[in-house]
Symmetry: C2
Subunit: 370 residues, 2 copies
């Protein structure tokens, strides 16, 4: 493992009740400014995905740094940010707005600048019924599949969904895509960014040809946002760039010395030979791990120590022969593989600057997946 | 896949805001009574692990059904249950009681019948310092390794840790083990249960020989509790038995028609051929998956539909050729692979009896991993 950057300084161990999340404010601010500057230079709007941090404090800094609004993944996240006054919101998800979600969607639309995703005529009809009779039409973006094969129609068929949306009384404003196949490995990022751009260009043509609007063409992920050529793309939705994580380092989307969040953990046992055990298990580090990464995170200060097995409250770390390992009682920083599910496990972010604890931010939208 | 049991009935879809957790009260109560009866018949105390449910409502039912007290995994869980009056608590974890944990441990000891785990002389010294001068000694159980090789000393060396605990002013009351290697597969359960019992018998001999007490010999996991012969074991600490899950069905610890908790999810997209997408991703189902199980859960009503890929808010389910699949908008029940990390993602449990919503219980200790 190369070590091109050192971890940021943690506060004194007796200020930390582990496991806990620690955010370095200088690095966070630099990450926010960096992405904002990159996209401004390209003439593309930044609508960061708030599912990464679920934090009003981070969202406010993104908006202050020039973001056009926020992306969220659920109505619950949208409500949490609207409650705090961050009310220009795109729900980048094919919402099925039936049952309790119908009334929630309608209430939210009345107090926020809201747009939502749609990828079928059936979902469009349900969305239309949910907001029927409200003061203004609900704005929707047609989701198109850029190669991830998760949700979204083939880009050439965007107009079919848009037609249905129009019939349901919705206002089609464009299309969105997520080239999540960029996460399949560092060698996939450039092609995925191209796929995303091309899918949106095909969708744009299809929409315009059928007489729809297409003034929003929204792409989004941290690896593709950092590398894509603009083309027809009008907006990017990166999320993880705020904090970075081990996966983003591996994908080349950030350097190690830009990672702005770590899980602080204590060595609680070294009873078995060749290993140490941390008090951060799957309920702190999550089990997310791309197939191309071994281990459940890394310890910047101990490159020979790898979290090899997680149970709920334990990380069993293998110690390479001859490698330095932290003794029982030491508080160590762990860079998680994927920061988004990790933040969703905690209620607060401890904020440090130059190793001093300066704030604690609530994870306002934690668990708001509904 | 065999289908030896049908799922319990969910409430009407418009009563559910998905993704959400639904607990069947009849099945839960039967599971609690079943384990209590099994262990009472064997003359072994039941101290259920509350990390599974993190819920005072479930814990109260366990205590009412005859449990001797609760097991927890962290000080935070212990505090949450003590706050609710469930105050006979064993922290089955090698606590490192430094920093903020020292004061918390001491405060908790003053208001609860508390015991904690210890697996090193160093941790014993830290525990002793944390509670020095308090009115009564802190009770500890020496953790011994029954073959999982996570935490715990070899059983024959239990007295070394006990000696250190005695010097630190702690009261040694016995030993505990967790044969988590039972989860490596159905063919491992019986041997793991034997390992656990034998490890505790060896620890008992070592402790008694060195002049220590050993009146608590605590074993614990749902698969081993269901199958072990008592031997010297005085107490079992199963957790998952309350709800069951797909992994427990696979291990033979419960039947499909005993699974008492499901994730209710809505089909939000069927845009890509051969699959349907649910609104329950890794932030609802977790990524926990034993190596011997394919997929991230199962849909009892649709055996040909498998959650094959999770992203944070999506489950991409493969539909076997010719198999029935739920249409967009349908609310389906998903049995998760491992229920414990799933419950920790949600703030409440919806409770049903005969398909009628009868209550909602908070997940009181959600996120209390510290």
């Amino acid at each position: 493992m190369d070590r091109d950057g050192r971890p940021f300084d943690l506060p004194a161990p007796d200020e930390l009740d582990t496991p806990c999340l620690v955010v370095d404010l200088d690095r966070l601010e630099a990450n926010l400014a960096g992405m904002a500057g990159l996209l401004a230079g390209r003439g593309v709007a930044l609508r960061p995905h708030a599912k990464t941090h679920k934090s009003v404090a981070v969202a406010s800094r993104q908006l202050a740094a020039g973001a056009a609004g926020l992306t969220v993944a659920s109505l619950g996240e949208a409500e949490a940010f609207a409650d705090a006054g961050c009310d220009d919101l795109f729900v980048a998800y094919p919402l099925w707005a039936a049952g309790p979600k119908a009334a929630r969607l309608r209430a939210l639309q009345e107090r926020a600048r809201l747009s939502v995703g749609v990828d079928s005529a059936a979902a469009a009809a349900v969305l239309g019924a949910a907001v029927a009779g409200s003061g203004r039409p609900l704005q929707v973006l047609v989701e198109v599949d850029a190669g991830l094969h998760r949700t979204g129609v083939p880009p050439g068929r965007a107009a079919t969904v848009a037609d249905a949306a129009g019939r349901a009384g919705l206002e089609v404003v464009g299309a969105f895509a997520h080239a999540g196949h960029a996460y399949l490995g560092p060698d996939r990022v450039a092609a995925a960014a191209d796929d995303e751009r091309r899918a949106l260009e095909v969708a744009q043509s299809a929409l315009l040809r059928a007489g729809h609007e297409a003034w929003v063409l929204s792409a989004g992920s941290t690896p593709t946002a950092a590398r894509s050529a603009a083309g027809a793309v009008t907006e990017e939705r990166p999320g993880t760039y705020a904090f970075g994580d081990r996966q983003q380092v591996g994908l080349g989307s950030c350097r190690r010395d830009q990672v702005a969040l770590v899980v602080a953990a204590t060595v609680v046992s070294a009873a078995a030979p060749g290993q140490v055990v941390l008090d951060a298990g799957s309920k702190a580090l999550s089990m997310d791990r791309p197939a191309w990464l071994a281990g459940h995170g890394e310890l910047p200060a101990y490159p020979g120590v790898t979290p090899a097995r997680l149970s709920e409250e334990h990380a069993v770390c293998e110690v390479a022969p001859g490698a330095a390992a932290p003794p029982p009682g030491e508080v160590v920083a762990v860079v998680p593989n994927h920061v988004c599910p990790v933040v969703n496990l905690f209620d607060q972010l401890l904020v440090v600057r130059a190793g001093q604890l300066v704030d604690a931010w609530p994870v306002d939208a934690r668990g708001r997946s509904t």
